[in-house]
Amino acid sequence: MAVDTWEGLSGHDRHAACLVAAQGGNRRALDTLVTDLTPLVWHVTRSQGLDRVSAEDVVQTVWLALLRHLNRLEHPRALAGWLITTTRREAQRARTTGYDRESPVPNEGLSDIPTQNDGPEQEALRDDRDRRLWAAYAQLTERCQHLLKLTVLAGRAQYDAVAEALHMPRGSIGPTRGRCLNQLRDLLNREGGPQ
């Protein structure tokens, strides 16, 4: 039995191998990409201010849209960037069509943006360290929050995608992230961290 070419690989190499195999018609490779990268698509969608139900639709729409686009991705490196860009566009579209009409709960999605809320999600954070880290993260600038979230979720090898999504030069992603992390540590250490 043939061994999957991405077996044993991780991060960018794994996604590149999967993409090439998927372009060749390997459905398991496509499923592996879905397993690995759906968390990225999910969190990018939620960062755009969609409620969980609408976010599920957007996640599916993005992956379905990829099917047609699969063979147009010439560089495996472009996949994460395509996913981030498409997810943002789809999320914005969903938000517009969902809220422009006479929806009785127009702000439902806006009220549970994880980056701006200290509401119910706090309950999910029982661990004190988690609570302090989340409180410190929430005090970072929005730019730092997005940059840290995207680099963590997209993988460190995929800075091109993150740079494009944040309209930053690729070379400044690493140094900027370093500064964001330092700010995060300062916030965490300040008098034992935020309460």
Partner: protein
Amino acid sequence: MNAGQDNNPTANGQDDNPTEEDLLLLAELDVLFDKVDPMPADLVERVQFAIALEDLDVEVARWQRDQELAGVRGAGPNTVTFTVEDLTIMVSFAPAGGGYRFDGWLVPGGPHTVEVRVAGHTSTTTAADEGGRFAVDQVPKGTTQLVIHLAAGHGGRGRTVVTPTLVL
């Protein structure tokens, strides 16, 4: 220690030399994002079902959620609407037997083929009438997706439109 961490950014991508401390903090954040806002447990599975299509050259119809938000959900038949550029798909579903009965309407109408996929079951295929109406009895409960094979017009190749899944 990471010997390269003082390197200046260079053109060949060696601009990232996070310290071990940085990597630990990033790993912590990674776990934290999922704790704070976990993905629905079945989302990956639903996506994998949705994209397990014979033909990958498909257009995606988007769910018009506002209808559901307007409170259609209830005891009576439920209606969902999907749209893609020049096609609108409306489907009402009502409990019937152990599953559902689908009544649908494609606009603009035509003798299109409608496939109802349900995870773990065989697909059901039916033809819409000239007005775009179609009906499917006994759709099993579960993760469900519509695949519309549009009738080829003017001798061109027929297009295929798919919806995201809904869980019934």
